[in-house]
């Protein structure tokens, strides 16, 4: 489906997420992340398209924009022309990284590993 506005929105969200400029928050569901925007919009990133009868995750991630009355304004999935499954997966990986402050933890670990490496020389 052609939806240039949805594509433009997705590209901006992906760019800002990669730049760690969107404050993604973890939720009670380990595969759902939320971000409040301008105090009246919510970005909801679900790591799967649907749940099977057995509760298994099916399909690539889906991003939705909701207003403060819970109305879904846009749903961005792989059916939007220009949005690839890989882009959606990238968004999920980096949203998760922001939500769990993973960058700081990875830096800390890298620092420790470098110290160990230097100690062995």
């Amino acid at each position: 489906m052609d939806d240039p506005k949805a594509l433009a929105l997705f590209n901006e969200i992906l760019r800002n997420t990669l730049a760690r400029k969107i404050a993604w928050q973890p939720t009670a569901d380990e595969d759902i992340f939320l971000a409040s925007m301008l105090g009246k919009f919510t970005l909801k990133l679900v790591g799967y398209t649907s749940l099977s009868n057995w509760g298994e995750h099916e399909g690539p991630p889906v991003l939705t924009l909701e207003d403060d009355r819970n109305n879904t304004l846009v749903e961005i999935n792989r059916d939007i022309a220009g949005v690839s499954v890989e882009d959606l997966q990238t968004l999920l990986v980096f949203a998760r990284r922001t939500a769990f402050n993973a960058d700081e933890k990875i830096d800390e670990l890298l620092g420790e590993l470098k110290k160990v490496d230097e100690g062995l020389r």
Partner: protein, 142 residues
Amino acid sequence: MVAAWFAKRASTAATEAREAVLSNSLAEEISLALKLAAEVTNLVDLGKHDLARLRSNDLHERTLTIIVRWGRTLPAASKENFEKARLQLETLRAVVSRLGANAAVPTQRQLSHMQASCEKIRDIFVEEHASAMRRNDEAKNG
């Protein structure tokens, strides 16, 4: 002229009194929400998913009431906090409903995500209760 001065003072005093009463009600409303949030946290810890879902529904309703009733007068940061609580609650409700429907026991990882979400919700109400009380004190002390 003196009458006009007294009338203005009376009007200001009435407005301040009204704001203090409204502010009190908000603090009370948040205090009740805080108790519910603590209850939801305990029920999740105990694995009582059906009860946790019911209490999450109650807390969600109360949060919506706070947002709708006081939305216009709340500071932007507080409004955003209540919105965050509402969104966290919606996901929590979905997760406990799923677990309750399947009579499933959450994995350690699922449980830790649910507990973290409960803590986040509770922290929001603790913070907002303190803010509402502070605003009350400021209104009382002029």
